[in-house]
Amino acid sequence: MVKKSMMLVCALLFGLSLILSGCGAPAGKTVGVQSVQKQGKSITVAVQDNFVSMDPGDTNDTLSFSAEKTMMEGLIGFDKSMKMVPLLATSWEVSPDAKEFTFHLRKGVKFSDGTPFNAQAVKVNIDRLSDPKSNLKRHSLFSLVDKTVVVDEYTVKVILKQPFGAMLNNFAHPAALMVSPAALEKYGKNIGRHPVGTGEYMLKEWIPGDHLTVVKNPNYWRQGYPKLDSITFKSVPENGSRIAMLQTGEADFIYPVPPENVQSLVGQSGVTVKHKPSIIVDYVSMNTLKKPFNDPKVRQALNYAIDKNAFIKVVYSGLAEPMTSEIASNVQFFSPQQPYPYDPNKAKALLKEAGYPNGFDTTIWSNNNSTYIKATQFIQQQLAQVGVKVKIENMESGTMDSKIWSVKKPQDATIQLYFGGWSPSTGDADWGLRPLLSKDMIPPQGYNTAYYQNDTVSREIQQAIETADPAQRKAAYDKVEKDIWQDAPWVFLDTRDNIYGYRNYLKDAFLLPDGSLDVQKAEIVK
């Protein structure tokens, strides 16, 4: 009897191991999977999170913007590399003092509910965004607007209270996607669930927590578009499941693909994985108000002490680039600097000069997701080589937020090192520098976790937005970026790659550097 039971256990174990070994084998051998043939003209996009709102002015997550862009269009759009291109405005002029912005609108465009698109429609939208009473999350992008004037049916002029040279980028921001005035009137506060725009697609259904589907807008103004019948966005939080969906063909496009999973998809037939530089930078800010980080030599030493290429290999499986300025190379007015090479001896020498021959103890704060944990551990290991002992505190983001932003007086701040990332959603240098490094942006006002308060730099950042002249702005940012780089309030680490995967028959679906999806012009090629 005992023998019999042993045999059974063995048999069970054997069976189980067969199943498991089967699962572990490369999926390239599978039957049925790569013979996925695309039927019809509808695609599924698997994304990580849930959509929050479909009201552009009240949206602050890149994912919701991605879906909004399939249904609505702005005056200005972004091309693949985030350069501004005409969309609902065919051209524009800016006054030399950067206060008056005149837009010439595209003629013969209608919102999908039949409402004509004209200067009045633009005015309704800009008025709504600039009115604090609308309670919109993106109000700050348009709080400088004094008034919007309808010049004629297809010309509209926006006048600012004070000069703001980066304003065009705010018009190109997804928050300024144009919503049908009739729909705004009809749905009021519920416009976020009934978006109506001039875009390629129209909302069909949105089941929160599950999926959102858009269908072809038959009256779209651009000839020959859209190319698909429908797009379904499905929320798939687990990385492994998203990848499985791409393999089975249940999803035609997935993002994000975690760097460590890229290898499992490369070489599989029918599937392409792409990675391209984003505008997201990773940095370690150092509290420049307090010892030891009040000494620029110490801050530079830390920059020399970390091997950025090794960091990228460990944390991002090689899918990132070392930072060469405080902003990513895709951001407008990027000005490349001389990187701090990996040189632990120089770091030690600088620490000695600064009066820390034996290093010192410090603490690093960061979010507690697995990438950030890996990153802080790597930083800890590297800094230990030059005598700096780092204690890691990985916190849940809400908890960390309150530790950073509940500080009222700068001298009470207990923050020392902080590892984080930043994505300037307007694609302009101003939003990549001012909230993080200008002196009026220390917590709780902004995101200057380095408490960096360099008067010259702050003044230069301000000057750069007082003109809309690209040449003048460029000159100002060239100087700002150089000054900050030498002052080193941050350890400059990397610019992350955006990684996404799609089935080979899908064309013109991609991610913009800001991490938002561009699938409006996607098509299926057989």
Binding site: V9, V33, S140, P208, S235, G240, G398
Partner: protein, 306 residues
């Protein structure tokens, strides 16, 4: 019995009231600022203050509580801070997904668990027992995220039989319910086995056998009925837990259920949604306990409901 049920239902009201106070204060003990999280990762200080005022979070906590209770009395659970949707709608749209997953998982887990348990108890220390308990221990020990991903690899990626994600048809239910139910089936199997073995040693079982009843009738009709009482208690508890939504299984299978909603809401400090969900869970548990108590009486008429 009807009187008993009505009394218990009325007794729910004070319990739910106390629960609501506890939940209201506990969610506010979590560090973190909902206004900052709602305003977004690059909001300015002014944006955040505006959001705080708009959400009513700048009011004193006592005022907020009074508003909350007033809403509750009118059947209004409030509005989600994150999406601006009514909480009842947020929860309602996910409840059915979790409900069906729970019912199907519990359904097969109960039947299979019971069968394994009975087989093991009857064939005590024989190969059927070893095999049954081996399966049960595996069911308890396999982490559900691992089991889920393996099932996806096998049945979705390699064989292409079943979908990977979402809740579109009965096919979508198969893998998540297998994953979710395996642990429960194992627990039920073990409970049934030990409880039934105890009952089979009782005098009345021996009497039944002695008067010449067939062994199978003794087991299935007389012994099992009595052995079921602890199993029903256990099943009720498990049912309650599953109705709360399983974060892991819902995440792996992209299931639009309550577990993910709760985790998302906690991460976002979406107080009204957390409150609403916790209140719903409390209600579910109270109701399940009531059903379990009634089932006791049905299984064993000696138990009287007072």
């Amino acid at each position: 019995m009807l009187k008993f049920i009505v009394r218990r239902l009325l007794g729910m009201i004070p319990i739910l009231f106390i629960v609501s106070i506890l939940i209201f204060s506990f969610v506010r003990f979590i560090p973190g600022d909902p206004a900052r999280l709602v305003a977004g990762p690059d909001a300015t200080y002014r944006d955040i203050q505006a959001v705080r005022a708009q959400l009513g979070l700048d009011k004193p906590v006592v005022t907020q509580y009074i508003d909350y209770v007033e809403g509750l009395l009118r059947g209004n659970l409030g509005t989600s801070l994150k999406t601006g949707r009514p909480v009842a709608e947020e929860i309602g749209s996910r409840f059915m997904a979790t409900f069906w997953l729970t019912v199907v998982s519990m359904g097969w887990a109960f039947v299979i668990g019971l069968l394994i348990g009975v087989a093991s108890a009857v064939k005590r220390n024989r190969w059927q027992d070893y095999a049954g308990m081996f399966t049960a221990v595996s069911g308890i020990s396999l982490p559900s995220f691992w089991l889920g991903l393996m099932l996806i690899q096998l049945f979705s990626v390699r064989l292409g039989w079943l979908p990977t994600a979402g809740f579109d048809s009965w096919k979508s239910l198969v893998l998540p319910s297998l994953t979710l139910g395996s642990g429960v089936a194992a627990v039920i199997a073990r409970f049934t086995r030990s409880s039934l073995m105890e009952v089979l040693r009782e005098d009345y079982t021996r009497t039944a056998r002695a008067k010449g009843l067939h062994y199978n009738i003794v087991v299935w009709k007389h012994a099992l009925r009595n052995a079921l009482i602890p199993v029903v208690t256990m099943t009720g508890l498990q049912f309650g837990f599953l109705l709360g939504g399983s974060v892991v299984v819902e995440t792996v299978f992209s299931w639009p259920g309550l577990g993910r909603l709760l985790i998302d809401s906690v991460a976002f400090r979406d107080y009204p949604v957390i409150q609403g969900e916790m209140l719903l869970f409390a209600l579910e548990f109270i109701l399940i306990n009531l059903v379990v108590d009634v089932l006791y009486a049905v299984l064993n008429p000696q138990i009287r409901l007072e």
